[in-house]
Symmetry: C2
Subunit: 236 residues, 2 copies
DNA sequence: AAGTGGTCTAGACCACGCA
DNA sequence: GCGTGGTCTAGACCACTTG
């Protein structure tokens, strides 16, 4: 990025994460930062606004910007993170298997979820996530074939997001997420090590691109003992 | 509020919610809005930034700001919403019972959660949430007594947040939330209608004030069939 | 009174989408 | 080429905290 405020944000995040700026101390004042980065206060404030939104600092009028204690979460499904990004934080303990990759004629339910009009085909990707040798997450992804013409097993084993954002140049922008708890289906039993659990945590994700077009519906089904969701929220 | 950009934000939200601005159409351009509200573009942009953060619009460079389809969620535990605010959306179907209200000497676990140093007393509030006549949520709240000297049953039956923000003038600012699934404890069985369910959804909340001080730890225990979490997230 | 963050103005230039 | 949103500047005044 060439954006000054992004650079300043990145640099400050780095300083916080490496402990050069410590939690419960204060950031340099906006005027000091303005001086240091040779820019204007509004630009500094854009960077600080990002820090605040992401939970790194709390701004207090008249006092300054307090650095928060962000213990980096070990398993955040929060926000928009792909399993690949997650897995890299977990080292060699995570693995992905592609169980199915096909174009299908969508059911009525899927048509509604993906807001499809006509008889458009969709990609169905079924993947199982392996944690410490146990199959604990079942991911079912559906894409409009119009938007993603080709998809290979290799891409699905790696990261679909990487393919879409990197290779195809599309920009994933926001998502609506819903978490509920359901009873395991036959499919869950087929693909997962359910053990004795009588519930499955279902995370439904509606993913949108930059231009506000819906392009993916995902159902992520987690064995309850391996499910954890962490979130940071500001009061509106 | 006297802030121009908040007023503009509120007005635009109103227009969207009342359907005067329709989903999948575009907002007037920033220049048009600047003209209409007799202000500068940066101020308009602050208002639009808020709309974007809250999921009302999607900005697309070169095109405009697309209004998103915000079907108002029927049961959002998302963000920071108190049960009282929720209940008002659900009409007469929701009820709260205060099962216990006391000051206690915190356990080691609680001391760690609330980051207490010495032998400070804490409030313990245990409440049961009733939905359609079934006891489905168990809320356990803990406050530092230093920060909240007095607390009454009436306040707890109504809304603790309202009391704290309205009557005491403290400002709740942000929270860290964690969702996991556990086995029901004896306490869950005691207070809730668990039926045959063998899991409980546990939402742990760490709530902070304006000045970045932690002042509340809450454990909200939901019967799985009545649990639903909806979230809107932007990619970072 | 001095220093902090919060808001607002008036203007500039750039990047992108579209006809 | 025009209109859109994205970034940045230079400066002003206000609200709040602290000594």
């Amino acid at each position: 990025m060439n954006n000054k405020y992004i650079k300043i944000y990145d640099e400050l995040v780095g300083l916080i994460q490496e402990g050069n700026l410590k939690p419960n101390t204060k950031l340099p004042s906006e005027n000091e930062l303005r001086e240091r980065y040779q820019t204007t206060r509004e630009t500094i404030r854009k960077a600080l606004h990002l820090l605040s939104e992401h939970g790194y600092i709390q701004k207090v009028q008249g006092k300054g910007s307090i650095i928060l204690d962000v213990k980096k979460f070990d398993f955040p499904i929060s926000g928009l993170v792909s399993f690949k990004e997650l897995a890299s934080k977990m080292g060699q303990r995570a693995k992905t298997t592609v169980e199915n990759l096909d174009t299908i004629t969508p059911s009525d339910y899927l048509k509604e979820q993906l807001k499809l009009k006509k008889a458009q085909k969709v990609w169905e990707v079924i993947r199982v996530r392996d944690l410490d040798g146990e199959k604990v997450i079942l991911d079912k992804d559906y894409f409009n074939k119009k938007m993603i013409p080709t998809l290979t097993k290799e891409v699905c084993e790696n990261s679909i997001y990487e393919y879409i954002e990197g290779d195809m140049g599309l920009a994933i922008s926001f998502a609506k997420k819903e978490i509920t708890v359901e009873e395991p289906t036959e499919e869950d039993h087929k693909y997962l090590h359910i053990k004795g659990y009588s519930n499955i945590v279902v995370v439904k994700n509606y993913v949108y691109l930059d231009d506000a077009s819906l392009f993916q519906y995902t159902e992520s089904r987690h064995r309850p003992d391996k499910f954890r969701f962490v979130d940071f929220a500001r009061r509106k």
